[in-house]
C-alpha cells in the first residue's frame, strides 16, 4: 500500500505525422506520492501538457503512447475502458489553463458542480447541491447560492478557475492535475488561487501535479520539482533545496533567470525628443446588461493619461479587469475612446485609421502582441504563412528569397525551431504560440511595440531571452515598448516608467525603481507582495475581490 498515487514510467507520446508517428515525449518518468505536491516545470513546448493529458486520457485524436501510467499501483492500460473512466472520475481531478473554454457555456455553475456527484457518485441532487455550495465556499467564493445559478459567461476568469478547482474536488480525488492554471490570472488572483490550493492540500491530503513555467511559483508550492526539456524529464529535485542540488545546466539557467540574477537594464538618459506616444484623458465605457437584463454602464478606462518617449519603455501593471488591455486597444484603433486624445509620433490617432493605406502606415509605427496567443493567430495559417503575410504587408514587392530570409531571422529572434514553420497553432504549445505572435509583431519593424502579457505564458529562460531580444532591438532601433503585465519582475527588467492601474484609473505612476522599491499606493504594495519568490507562501488577502466583470461586481454588491 505504499504505491505512489500517480506513477508515470517510460512514457513516450507520438503524434501522427504524414511520414509516420513523430515522438514528442521521450521516456518520461515521474511519480507523485500521497499528499505530495510535485511540480513539472520546463521549457515551453517541452511536453508538459502532453504528459498530463496522457494521464487524463485527453490526447488529441491519433496520438499514441507507450509506457506505463499507474494510478495507485493500477496500470491504466491493463484496465477496461469503464474501469479507467471510473478511476479517472474518482481519483483524479483536472484543472485546465483556460477555464472558460472548459465549461459548458449553456449549463449553470450549479449543474457543472453537481454533475459528477449525481451522475457518477449517485448522490441525490439535494445532497449534491449542498456539497457544491460547501465546495464553492471552500474555494473562497462568496454567495454560493447565487453563483450556482449563474452561467460561466457571467463569471470572471479567476472565479471560473476556482469553480474548476471546486468541481475537480467534488469527487474527493486523490490527486489534482493542474496545467498552468494561473497563467491567465493576475498576480493577486494567482496568489488567491494558490492559497486555496495550499489550504486544500493541508485539509484533504491532496496530491498535486502542478505544471507551470514559473520555477519560483513551483518552488513555493511544491515538494518536489521535475524539470522537463525537449520532451524529456531531465531532473527531479526537492523544492527546498533545488538551488543547491541542481545538476543540469538547463535547470541552472532556469533558476538563474527566475531568480532575477540577470543585470537590470539601465535605462538611457531621458531624451528631449517628442514622445512617441501620448495619451491624454482617455475614457472608455461599455454599455452592458446586467444579469436581469437591465442596462448598465461600465467605465473600463477612466481619464487615463500617459507618455512614452521614443526608445523608452513603459510598463502598465494592474489587476485583472483594470482596463490595461482596453487602453492598449484604444491606442491601436481597435476601439474608439469616448473622450481623450491619442498621439503617436506626433500624429493624431484619436480616430481609427480609415482605409488600407492609413492602416498600413499606422501598422508600421505601432504593433501589438495580444494577450491570448492562441486566439490571436489564425487557426488555419501555418506559422510560415502567418509571418509571410505580416512581412508582405509592408513589402508587397519583396522577393521570395528576401521574405524567406526575414522569416528565418524572425524565427531566430524568438528562438523558434524552424521545423515548426509548417505547424498550425493547434499543434503548438502555449509558449510557441506566444513567440509566433511576437515574431509577427516584430515583422513590421515598428517604432512602438505594445505587449499585452506577452511573456507570461513563457518559461523563464525563454522569457529572459525574449526580453533581452526586445531590449536589444530597443537599443539598436529606438523601438519604444509598452508592456502590459502583472509580472513585476518583467517590469523591473525592462521598463523605465511604470503605470499602476486599478478599476480603469491610474493609481500611481513613476519610474520603475521608485514604484517597485518605494510604492506609495497600498494597492501597489499588494501587487508587489503577491509576486512568487523564494520563501513566499500564498495568502488569501481579500475575499471576493477577484470579481472583474462588471456583472459580477454588481451581483455581489446588490442583494436579491
Amino acid at each position: 500500500m505504499t504505491h505512489p498515487i500517480l506513477e508515470i514510467s517510460g512514457l513516450d507520446v507520438f503524434a501522427p505525422g504524414a511520414d509516420g508517428p513523430r515522438q514528442l515525449v521521450f521516456d518520461s518518468t515521474l511519480s507523485v506520492g500521497r499528499g505530495e505536491a510535485v511540480g513539472l516545470v520546463g521549457e515551453s513546448g517541452s511536453g508538459k501538457t502532453l504528459t498530463v493529458r496522457a494521464v487524463a486520457g485527453l490526447l488529441p485524436d491519433g496520438f499514441t503512447t507507450r509506457g506505463a501510467i499507474r494510478v495507485d499501483g493500477q496500470e491504466l492500460a491493463g484496465l477496461g475502458r469503464r474501469a479507467v473512466r471510473e478511476l479517472r472520475a474518482r481519483r483524479i481531478g483536472m484543472v485546465f489553463q483556460t477555464p472558460r473554454a472548459h465549461l459548458n457555456p449553456l449549463r449553470t455553475i450549479g449543474d457543472f458542480l453537481t454533475e459528477a456527484l449525481v451522475h457518477v457518485a449517485g448522490a441525490s441532487p439535494a445532497d449534491a447541491g449542498r456539497r457544491a455550495r460547501a465546495l464553492l465556499d471552500e474555494v473562497g467564493i462568496t454567495d454560493p447560492d447565487r453563483r450556482m445559478r449563474q452561467h460561466p459567461g457571467e463569471l470572471s476568469g479567476g472565479l471560473l478557475q476556482r469553480v474548476m478547482i471546486a468541481a475537480a474536488l467534488a469527487m474527493d480525488p486523490e490527486i489534482l492535475l493542474a496545467d498552468e492554471i494561473t497563467t491567465a490570472l493576475d498576480v493577486t488572483t494567482q496568489e488567491e488561487v494558490m492559497a486555496v490550493l495550499a489550504e486544500l492540500r493541508e485539509r484533504r491530503e491532496l496530491s498535486l501535479l502542478f505544471i507551470t513555467h514559473d520555477l519560483a511559483l513551483a518552488g513555493a508550492v511544491c515538494d518536489r520539482v521535475n524539470v522537463m526539456q525537449h520532451g524529456r524529464i531531465v531532473e527531479t529535485l526537492p523544492a527546498a533545496t533545488m538551488r543547491r542540488d541542481a545538476t543540469q545546466a538547463y535547470t541552472r539557467t532556469l533558476m538563474a533567470a527566475a531568480l532575477d540574477e540577470a543585470p537590470p537594464i539601465v535605462a538611457e538618459a531621458g531624451t528631449a525628443a517628442p514622445p512617441i506616444l501620448r495619451l491624454e484623458g482617455i475614457r472608455k465605457s461599455y454599455r452592458l446588461r446586467d444579469a436581469r437584463g437591465r442596462a448598465d454602464t461600465l467605465v473600463a478606462v477612466d481619464d487615463v493619461s500617459m507618455e512614452l518617449a521614443r526608445g523608452g519603455s513603459l510598463g502598465i501593471v494592474g489587476e485583472s479587469g483594470s482596463g490595461k488591455t482596453t487602453a492598449a486597444r484604444i491606442l491601436l484603433g481597435l476601439e474608439t475612446a469616448d473622450a481623450g486624445r491619442i498621439e503617436v509620433a506626433g500624429e493624431d490617432w484619436s480616430r481609427p485609421a480609415r482605409g488600407g493605406r492609413g492602416r498600413r502606415h499606422r501598422a508600421k509605427l505601432a504593433q501589438m502582441v495580444f494577450q491570448d496567443p492562441y486566439q490571436s493567430l489564425d487557426r488555419r495559417q501555418t506559422v510560415e504563412q502567418c509571418l509571410r503575410e505580416a512581412i508582405r504587408v509592408h513589402r508587397p514587392r519583396a522577393e521570395r528569397a528576401a521574405l524567406d530570409a526575414r522569416i528565418a531571422e524572425l524565427m531566430g529572434h524568438v528562438r523558434l525551431d524552424p521545423a515548426l514553420l509548417g505547424q498550425r497553432p493547434r499543434s503548438l504549445s502555449g509558449g510557441q504560440r506566444q513567440r509566433v505572435a511576437i515574431a509577427r509583431a516584430l515583422a513590421a519593424d515598428p517604432e512602438l511595440l505594445v505587449l499585452d502579457e506577452a511573456v507570461s505564458a513563457l518559461d523563464v529562460t525563454t522569457q529572459v531571452e525574449i526580453l533581452t531580444l526586445l531590449d536589444t532591438i530597443r537599443r539598436e532601433t529606438g523601438l519604444a515598448l509598452l508592456m502590459i503585465t502583472h509580472d513585476l519582475t518583467v517590469i523591473r527588467r525592462l521598463c523605465d516608467q511604470v503605470v499602476v492601474m486599478r478599476q480603469g484609473r491610474i493609481e500611481e505612476h513613476g519610474t520603475a525603481e521608485a514604484i517597485l522599491d518605494a510604492p506609495q499606493a497600498d494597492y501597489t504594495r499588494l501587487l508587489l507582495d503577491s509576486i512568487p519568490r523564494e520563501g513566499w507562501t500564498p495568502r488569501r488577502r481579500r475575499l471576493g475581490r477577484t470579481g472583474s466583470l462588471a456583472t459580477v461586481t454588481r451581483s455581489t454588491v446588490i442583494p436579491d
Binding site: 501522427p16 496520438f63 499514441t64 488600407g356
Partner: protein, 287 residues
Amino acid sequence: MSVAQIAGGAVPTVAKRAARRDWLFRGALVVFGLIALAALLGPWIAPYDSSALYVGPVNGASSLAHPFGTDDVGRDILSRVLVGAGASVFAPIVVVLLSTVLGLGLALTAAWFGGWVSGVVARVVDVIFAIPGLVIAVLAVAMFGKGLVAPVVALSIAYIPVVARLTQTAAARELGKPYLAALRVQGVSSLAICFRHLVPAMIPVVAAQMAVGFGYAMLDLAAISFLGLGQQPPAPDWGSMIAGGQAGILAGAPEQSVFPAVFVVITVLAVGIIGARVTLWAEEKER
C-alpha cells in the same frame, strides 16, 4: 518495462482510413471529371443527334445500338444524356456559385459592418427566404423570359438565404475573435482579411453547403423545367428527362427516366463526396 498501447494502436487504422477515404475521393473526382467532360463535349461525342426522332424504336430497351435505349419519340437516350449534361451540370454549378458569392457577400457585409447594415441584410434575407421558390421563379421568368437564365437566376436568389444565414453566424463568430484584430493592427487590408482569413474560415460550412446546394439545384431546376418555366424543348436536360419519362417506369419502359436519374444520382454523389472531403480538409486545418 511493459509496452502498452493506451490509445489502442490507432496509427495503422488512421492511415488506412485516410487512404480508403482518399480512394473514395479520387473515385469521385474521376467520376465528376468524366461528367464534366461529357458536359463540355456532349454534342460532339453523342452517337446520335440528340433531337433526331425515331433513330430507334419508340420506348426501346437498351441495346447495342442504343445502350440506354430510346425514349418516347424514338430519340437515343444516351445522346440526350450526353448533350443534356451541359445544362444539367453547369446550371447547378452556376446556381451554387452565384448564390454562394451573393450569400457570402451579404453575410460578410452584414458581419463586417454590423449595426443597421446587418439588420437590413438580415431582413432582406428573411424576406427572400420566406417567399416560396416558385414565386421567385415566376418573377424571374417574367423578367428574363423562358430559358435557362430565369431559373438559374431564380434559384441563385432563392438559395441566398441559406448561404447567408449559415455564413453570417459563422462570420460574426469569427469576427469576434482576436486574431482578426491582430490582423488589423498588422495593417493587413480589409479585403485581404476578408478573403484570406474570414472566407477560409467559412470554407467547411460553405463547402458542405455548396455540395448540398448543388444537388438541390439540380433537382429544383428539373422541377422548374418540368413546369415549363425552364429549358425549352428539344434541348434536353436530365431533370426534364426524368420527369418526362415518369409514366414509363410503371409501364415497363423505365429507361427514359432511369438513365438520367442515375446520372443525377452519380453526379450529386460525386459532388457530395468531394464536398465532404473539402469540408474535412478545412476542418482539419482548424484542429
